[in-house]
């Protein structure tokens, strides 16, 4: 369900790391909680992101949800498919609907994040509350 090669945040973002480059998105749990996603606001290539700080928003009909960056660095790419097709976040949050790519300034920041196993347990516990 949750790809093993990703790591996860408590705010339901995923990050896939390749040396000091990272791809970031929101998890399947996040898209389920949001419902039909109708709008996404993302930074531009060249913008900075900071770990645990918001870098954009994902909006459903009913609500605005901030997205928090798992790591610090510089945005190298933004998924521009999402402007026209925000619904991709509902149908394919772990692959086609990646949000941004980042050149990390401090790759050690990923050590703080959850593995897929830990994230699955975290989501299960949240559902039981």
């Amino acid at each position: 369900m949750y790809p093993e090669e990703f790591q996860y945040t408590k705010d339901h973002e995923w990050i896939q790391v390749d040396e000091d480059a990272a791809t970031i998105g929101i998890t399947d749990h996040a898209q389920k909680e949001l419902g039909d996603i109708v709008y996404v606001e993302l930074p531009k290539a060249g913008d900075s992101v900071t770990a645990a700080e918001t870098f954009g928003t994902v909006e459903s009909v009913k609500a605005v949800s901030e997205i928090y960056s798992p790591v610090s660095g510089k945005v190298t790419a933004v998924n521009n498919k999402l402007q026209e097709h925000p619904e991709l976040l509902n149908s394919d949050p772990h692959a086609a609907a990646w949000l941004i790519r980042v050149q990390m300034s401090d790759p050690d920041e990923v050590d703080k994040l959850m593995s897929s196993e830990e994230y699955e347990a975290y989501v299960r516990e949240a559902g039981a509350l």
Partner: protein, 369 residues
């Protein structure tokens, strides 16, 4: 039907049915209600193209009876109750002395001395207390909300679906008229009223039949594509139709004229609470004007976002959301009267960014004839 206050929000008799149908629940006006089942967009489109079924049992019902009923109702509301015939309903507002609304509501006349008012869930107790405290005439008042479940069946196929299970020729019921009727073998009142901008009906009946009627209606509408619909879609539908929501477009600080509800204010009917303020505003002008707008650039205006006109900061968005049928992002806001003009631009502050919007005439959506 209601759970004790200390235990948290109230639940309608259909709570279990909603959970079983996979509804995502939310708290609204002191009630735990379904926000959506299959999704707001899907449910909204179902109502516009086929039909949707809403549990609106959280709404309140107040009866006003006796030889003084008409006098009381005329005094506390802005519309002309004397115009009603038996089995006719009327959209109106309970009035504060400052020309604003205690609540907006629908009065139904069963007879010359027999009325019931359908009021907003969040305001039921407030409305009852208000009417009681102004009942110097001695009409008989009762808060009968716990005696009713209410379901709204709305959409172009509503008439066809409801006709299958109702022992009454619904095609003879005009809009804003109602009748006692037997629906799914349960006696109640069927009114051709609603809050979606589509044709539709609202059925009032005794709560012990709730699950039976809910299931029977869904079954009767299955072939027609009837779907359960929640408060999320109820809000996007009424917004597209340009209908006010109390607490947003209406509150104690907004007169009926400012809210573009002059059409329900019958200033010639005789005296009523708030009439003098409305007369004065009609002569001298209003302080603000309700306008509709659509976003002119990407971005979604939400409730409470600041609104800017040429003259500076003008107020806030009172209701803002994507419009699933119109496929635009729309909203309502109050602006200075001089700035209120369809076609004129305003800006909405969306999280510190100023985004352009354009005023449009209301309603955003009008159902095809």
């Amino acid at each position: 039907m209601a759970t004790p206050a200390e235990l948290g929000p109230k639940r309608t008799a259909l709570y279990a049915a909603h959970k079983a149908a996979g509804a995502r629940m939310t708290e609204f006006g002191g009630w735990e209600m379904p926000i959506e089942y299959s999704g707001i967009t899907q449910e909204h489109l179902a109502v516009r193209t086929r039909a949707g079924l809403f549990d609106v049992s959280h709404m309140g019902e107040i009866t006003v009876r006796g030889p003084k009923a008409l006098a009381l109702l005329q005094s506390v509301t802005c519309n002309d109750v004397a115009r009603l015939s038996d089995h006719q309903a009327q959209y109106t507002a309970l009035m504060y002395p400052q020309g604003s609304a205690v609540d907006d509501c629908v009065i139904h006349r069963l007879g010359e001395n027999d009325y019931f008012i359908c009021v907003n869930a969040a305001n039921t107790d407030k409305d009852y207390e208000w009417i009681s405290s102004h009942n110097s005439m001695g009409a008989e008042l009762e808060n009968v909300s716990s005696r009713y479940s209410q379901l709204a069946l709305q959409g172009p196929r509503a008439l066809a679906i409801l006709s299958k299970v109702t022992g009454f020729d619904l095609s003879t019921l005009r809009t804003y008229w109602f009748s006692p009727a037997r629906c799914c073998a349960v006696d109640g009142l069927v009114a051709r009223t609603g809050y979606t901008g589509e044709d539709g009906f609202e059925f009032y009946f005794s709560p012990e039949h709730s699950e039976h009627v809910w299931n029977a209606l869904l079954e009767a509408g299955r072939e027609e594509g009837l779907q359960p619909a929640g408060l999320g879609a109820r809000n996007t539908l009424r917004l597209e139709a340009g209908y006010a929501l109390y607490g947003h477009e209406l509150d104690e600080n907004t007169t009926l004229l400012e809210a573009s509800l002059g059409w329900i204010c019958k200033l010639d009917k005789g005296d009523f609470i708030g009439r003098d303020v409305l007369l004065k505003q009609r002569a001298e002008g209003v302080r603000k004007k309700l306008v509709g707008f659509e976003m002119a650039e990407p971005g979604i205006a939400r409730d409470g976002y600041p609104v800017w006109t040429n003259g500076g900061k003008a107020g806030q968005v009172t209701s803002g959301s994507p419009a699933p049928f119109l496929k635009k992002n729309i909203g309502l806001a109050y602006v200075p009267p001089a700035a209120a003009q369809p076609g004129q631009e305003i800006t909405i502050e969306i999280r510190q960014r100023k985004v352009r919007a354009r005023q449009v005439a209301l309603p955003f959506y009008k159902r095809p004839k």
